[in-house]
């Protein structure tokens, strides 16, 4: 297990390095000048040079990348002051340290992700199981059509509608906002409830369909038939046998989804004015903010890579045929 982890973590580090390098070089592959973008509306050549220097983009790209990489471990000095390790640089836009920005935003994204995941796992898997257990019967048909409708929903549409109805018109809820869990758990919960529900709609639909099809497939497996043939009660057959086998693909997708969500739920964050990683990403792109872009790309990539490892470990836990080596 520890060898597996060590090997995978090393692999992850290499992947992250490749991803950051690709981001770096792709950013400059487009003929653009972030310095001109950041410089004032009248930008004399001397000032432009200064801006380039301040941003650290007055060097060849590979050297910039090298300095950026070194900065993560050793810190760096900028015109805007010392940036301690782990230094991801300063934002081109407002010179906020990237690392601080990410640390500041991550709890929001994490809260949004975890809450939504709980909701969509609960409802998605629950509905999928009911549908599978009641194959072809009304419950199955209701669950299937509900998931079809859910899958075709758009977050910004449902989000705006939900806010308008629940907050503006009925005034049942407070306006969605992020409050720190440690500061006020009740506010944390009530502030994120609508975003959780809205964000989980599409996922719930997906997990319903996935659970249903996966369960249906497992229920027709020989070993499930064996379990029934040896007299196991149907609940046991369903949960302990079929679900055990059906979990595999669901966990895989869940790992991918969780990783993607931790990289920032851009639309949801914009819809509900939540200041998470997603908002940082969109701003980074719009503002040609390379350090921020690299930062959020790293967060997203790390989340995805880590959850890949977690999924693989979970797989080994569920299925003894899979060996961690």
């Amino acid at each position: 297990m520890s060898r597996f982890l060590l090997r995978r973590l090393l692999g992850a580090a290499v992947i992250l390095m490749i991803i950051s390098a690709v981001t770096f070089f792709l950013f400059f592959a487009v003929p653009r000048d972030p310095a001109r973008f950041a410089c004032g509306k009248i930008c004399p050549p001397e000032t432009l040079e200064l801006v380039r220097h301040n941003m650290g983009i007055d060097e060849p790209v590979f050297l910039q990348y090298w300095h950026w990489l070194i900065g993560i471990f050793a810190g760096r000095d900028f015109t805007y002051g010392r940036c301690d390790a782990p230094c991801l640089g300063y934002s081109f836009v407002n010179q906020q340290p990237i690392f601080d920005a990410i640390v500041d935003r991550f709890p929001t994204t994490l809260s949004l992700t975890i809450g939504a995941a709980v909701v969509f796992l609960l409802f998605g898997i629950g509905m999928g199981m009911i549908a599978a257990a009641r194959q072809g019967r009304p419950a199955d048909k209701i669950a299937s059509s509900a998931s079809l409708i859910g899958a075709s929903m758009q977050i910004y549409f449902v989000g705006v509608l939900a806010t308008w109805v629940l907050v503006d018109q009925l005034q049942l809820f407070e306006r969605p906002a992020y409050h720190e869990l440690t500061a006020d758990p009740v506010k944390w919960f009530s502030g994120l409830l609508i975003p959780w529900l809205v964000l989980s709609i599409i996922f719930t639909a997906n997990y319903t369909r996935m659970t249903r099809s996966s369960m249906v497939e497992q229920l027709s497996e020989d070993y499930v038939r064996t379990a029934r043939a040896k007299g196991m009660p149907s609940r046991t057959v369903f949960l302990r046998f079929a679900w055990r086998g059906a979990m595999g693909p669901i966990i895989t997708i869940f790992g991918v989804d969780l990783g993607a969500l931790l990289g920032g739920a851009i639309i949801t964050e914009q819809t509900f004015v939540l200041h998470g990683i997603g908002e940082l990403s969109i701003k980074a792109v719009v503002n040609q903010d390379l350090p921020m872009l690299l930062g959020v790309v790293l967060v997203a990539a790390t989340a995805i890579v880590l959850f890949n490892i977690v999924v693989d470990a979970a797989y080994a836990f569920i299925d003894p045929r899979v060996r961690l080596s």
Binding site: G136, Y223, T226, A229, P233, S234
Partner: protein, 340 residues
């Protein structure tokens, strides 16, 4: 006349599918006595497995219509409530499946799979059940059962897996064991070992066995009675000696002649009878075998496409064919016997 241990009468199993109603089993009757083995033979799709799943009540009632009687030790099973069937399965009636790799749960250790059956039906403690599992593994000939009890199915060889399967099936000393192609997925040498094991265990416990196979060789080896099935019906029935020695139905002839030599150690695949098995949605009228039968002319073609032939005589060696007994003897003696 005593009541047989298992008595199946006029069993009919229909499945609702999108393409139409599948008549998987159609008016099947047979008996099995304790301590004996009935071999059920037929091509795939002939209804052998469906019949036995019906005995265990394993069909999804939403899509399946079952009629007729299945009486086990005096209890009617087709109308029994789900819970009663659940208590019966794995306890009084157990089943072994064709492919032990897919039929054993890959997610649980073999010990757990055996012991949970035992606990389910006996209410034994964890420790007792584990002891029982080790004992069962030893009985079916798994070496070092104490250390292997926590292993997973994928860590066993094919033959060992089937032994595990048998251990699991026999853990509650069932009165009836249904073995559905228990040796098909195995090497020939291992096949013999498994059949011997079944025989040996039967001698110890007196269990009745239904052995489902498409291999007459296996039947010859392991059964006392034979039922040959075609398109959901019995076409011939009798003792092993009767059916294999003096077969009467053209389908049985086909099976026998397309079979590799008995006790051959070379695993030659079964060459099927001419033509393909009939659709079970649109079963041919009359004798369902007639489209593939070479002897319609002797029987009189109108007969074969008219009414369905009944199994006759009702007891002993019976067959469902319009050929006269004289014809059957003659054809068998002249054309079939030499090929065997």
């Amino acid at each position: 006349m005593t009541i047989p241990f298992l008595s199946v009468r006029d069993l009919t199993v229909d499945f609702d599918t999108e393409d139409g109603v599948v008549h998987a089993v159609d008016g099947l009757s047979f008996d099995v006595e304790k301590g004996t083995t009935l071999g059920i033979v037929g091509e795939s799709g002939s209804g052998k497995s469906v019949t036995n799943l019906a005995v265990l009540g394993l069909h999804d009632p939403a899509y399946t219509k079952i009629s007729g009687e299945i009486v086990l030790d005096g209890r009617e099973l087709t109308t029994a409530p789900r819970r009663e069937l659940e208590r019966l399965r794995g306890n009084k009636v157990a089943m072994i499946f064709q492919d032990p790799l897919t039929s054993l749960s890959p997610y649980h250790s073999v010990g757990r799979q055996i012991s949970e059956t035992y606990r389910r039906h006996t209410g034994a403690s964890r420790g007792e059940a584990r002891g029982r599992a080790v004992e069962m593994l030893r009985r079916v000939g798994i070496p070092h059962p104490v250390s292997r009890v926590d292993d997973y199915p994928h860590q066993f060889s094919g033959g060992m897996r089937q032994r595990v399967m048998i251990a699991m099936a026999l853990v509650c000393d069932p009165d009836l064991l249904i073995a559905d192609e228990p040796t098909t997925a195995l090497d020939v040498t291992v096949q013999a070992q498994i059949l011997d094991l079944l025989k040996e265990l039967q001698e110890q416990t007196g269990t009745a066995i239904i052995l489902i196979t498409h291999d007459l060789g296996v039947v010859a080896n392991a059964a006392q009675e034979v039922l040959v099935m075609y398109a959901g019906r019995a076409v011939e029935r009798g003792t092993v000696r009767e059916v294999l020695g003096t077969p009467r139905h053209p389908y049985t002839w086909g099976l026998l002649s397309s079979m590799p030599r008995l006790r051959s150690s070379v695993d030659v695949p079964l060459v099927p009878v001419r033509g393909t098995p009939p659709s079970l949605i649109h079963v041919p009228p009359g004798c369902p075998f007639h489209p593939r039968c070479d002897y319609q002319a002797q029987a009189g073609p109108d007969l074969c496409v008219g009414d369905r032939p009944e199994l006759s005589p009702h007891r002993g060696h019976g067959d469902a064919c319009y050929l006269t007994p004289a014809h059957k003897r003659e054809i068998f003696a002249d054309q079939i016997k030499e090929r065997l």
